[in-house]
């Protein structure tokens, strides 16, 4: 980066810092259950999935409806989150993620290959050793699921570029509402095959059991960027330069949105993110 000191970053922010307002409509969740703001109205507007089907995977960018909009970094610079002020109804924890790619599938999607869900355009090379080689697998309900559970595994290529890796089984619980994230043991992301830490592409899905229909779900490859707790009606200012020494990076063209876990039933984050390119 061109600037290597905190004072330099603050000075750059004074020149060309970005104050990015956002606010997403309430996603009714269940207390302590992960949810996504992707399909919620607001600023940015609602995002959608793809056409239903394994062949319809698509990469996402800042121009994808549902992404927070920002200016890409200038040539030769990198973009960082230097601050945030966030609140919402109730309390909880948010994660800002880059939605690298996604595909929408039927509740009883048949076993087969998935096309187009790859994140390599915004990932470092395989085995770069810097935790930027891959993302995580996030499964969210796109349209309310019909009654009855189905069980799946997902095939993927791991951070080292090794294909044919398979997640443990996870359950798509019947009746789950829109924008809920399918948790596994309370976690936001689908666990990976033992020994893997991240994913470069999502390649296949296997229907292990169940034939229940009625809804759809979206499988996304996401890269977590920043974790932010929120407290009802108390807009905490966070300084990621001098206060927390984090400098989370936003790769150019990242498709930004929030996932989160509220302690209560409301999930509607709003506030401002502060970016600068240095």
């Amino acid at each position: 980066m061109a600037v290597t000191t905190a004072a330099g970053i603050y000075s750059e922010f004074a020149l060309n810092g970005q104050h990015i307002m956002f606010g997403k409509a309430n996603v009714v969740s269940t207390g302590n259950t992960w949810a996504t703001s992707w399909a919620a109205a607001g600023l940015p507007g609602a995002g959608t999935g793809t056409s239903t089907g394994k062949a319809n995977g698509a990469t996402c960018s800042r121009s994808t409806a549902g992404s927070i909009w920002y200016n890409n970094p200038r040539a030769g610079r990198r973009l960082y989150v230097v601050g945030a002020t966030i609140t919402g109804s109730g309390n909880g924890a948010l994660t800002l993620v880059d939605r690298l790619a996604h595909v929408t599938l039927a509740q009883n999607e048949a076993t087969g290959s998935i096309t187009g869900v790859t994140g390599t355009a915004r990932l470092d090379s395989a085995s770069a050793g810097n935790n930027m080689e891959g993302g995580q697998i996030l499964v969210e309900v796109a349209s309310v699921l019909g009654a009855g559970d189905n069980v799946f595994t997902i095939g993927y290529t791991n951070q080292a570029g090794t294909a044919s890796r398979v997640t443990p089984q996870f359950t798509l619980t019947g009746g789950t509402a829109v924008s809920r994230i399918i948790p596994v043991s309370g976690l936001c992301y689908i666990p990976l095959q033992d020994g893997d830490r991240s994913v470069r592409s999502i390649d296949a899905i296997t229907l292990v059991s169940g034939a229940n229909t009625g809804g759809t779900f979206t499988v996304s490859l996401v890269r977590p960027i920043l974790d932010v707790p929120w407290v009802a009606n108390i807009p905490f200012d966070r300084d990621y330069v001098g206060e927390q020494c984090l400098l989370p990076e936003v790769i150019a063209d990242s498709c930004l949105y929030f996932v989160g876990v509220p302690t209560g039933s409301s999930f509607n984050p709003w506030g401002v993110l502060r970016f600068v390119d240095v």
């Binding site: 020149l15 909009w69 001098g242 401002v272 390119d277």
Partner: protein, 278 residues
């Protein structure tokens, strides 16, 4: 001197260098559009209703602290030390308030014919390498249909002939409301690789003939506050939020933008801007 340490700030306070400037403003309409940014410029209060320049491509102007609508009482050689804001009338109206330096503006028709613009220039209050953002609000209610146009501008580095992507307006935008139809935009998007604008040279009408008038402003965001709800204020100490303290030009035309997060009618935003001088 610029204030960079708490010791310097305390010393300045002990020498009675603090000036508190109150404000008390509302947006032009009592019912803003949820999730869409609005401007206080044309609203009542303290400061008074802001003026707009004479309609036409040749009538761009630089706005100063003498322009009706600007916050009054800013001392010379000032830095924003702290602030305190809240809203007064609605128990459920929430949103984000942004303080900007409104450097330059121009009053154009919604269906303004392609041509050169004169006077839409922010360089008088921009440091070298700095740029402003493009804020566009309706002056008179726009016609029901949307138009599409682009703006050609000079970027933060002084490079000319830069062109925005298509700017699509939202039909029937009311006075003070952002005209951008893309629900992800607060400010107009820029050519990829740019982070700011120093001046705008021309407008190109791509399509549409819908009527009404719009105010295109070059603004520099300075501070943002989250206003959770009536009874909850928002206080900021700028030294710990964005050190060093933001310098405020003595000719700055300070104005406000409002992002309504709730659907409730907007009350009055009020508060105090606290400046410390050299």
């Amino acid at each position: 001197m610029s204030y960079q340490t708490i010791q310097q700030l305390v010393n300045g306070l002990s020498l009675d260098k603090l000036t508190k400037v109150p404000f008390h403003k509302r947006i032009p309409t009592s019912v803003p559009t949820q999730y869409r940014p609005h401007s206080y410029w044309q609203g009542e209060g303290v400061p008074v209703i802001g003026t707009v320049p004479t309609n036409g491509k040749a009538n761009g102007r630089v706005c100063t602290n003498s322009t009706d609508g600007a916050v009054l009482g800013i001392p010379s050689n000032a830095y924003l030390a702290s602030s305190s804001v809240g809203q007064q009338t609605s128990s459920v109206a929430t949103g984000t308030l942004m303080l900007v330096d409104k450097i330059s503006d121009i009053n154009l028709n919604h269906n303004e014919a392609t041509g050169s613009l004169t006077g839409l220039d922010a360089t008088s209050r921009l440091a070298a390498g700095a740029g402003a953002h493009i804020w566009i609000e309706a002056i008179t209610t726009l016609g029901a249909s949307s138009n599409t146009f682009t703006l050609t501008y000079t970027n933060q580095d002084g490079t000319g002939s830069r062109t925005t992507p298509n700017i699509v307006t939202i039909g029937s935008a009311i006075q003070g409301k952002s005209v951008l139809t893309n629900a992800a935009y607060t400010f107009a998007p820029l050519q990829d690789g740019d982070v700011g604008v120093r001046s705008i040279q021309s407008i190109t009408l791509v399509s549409g003939s819908s009527t009404g008038t719009m105010l295109i402003s070059l603004v520099r965001p300075l501070v943002t506050w989250l206003i959770p709800a009536i009874g909850y204020g928002s206080n900021r100490e700028e030294l710990f939020s964005a050190a060093p303290l933001p310098a405020i030009s003595s000719s700055a035309c300070l104005a406000f933008l409002w992002f309504p997060f709730s659907a409730a009618g907007m009350g009055i935003s009020a508060g105090s801007l606290n400046f410390i001088t050299d």
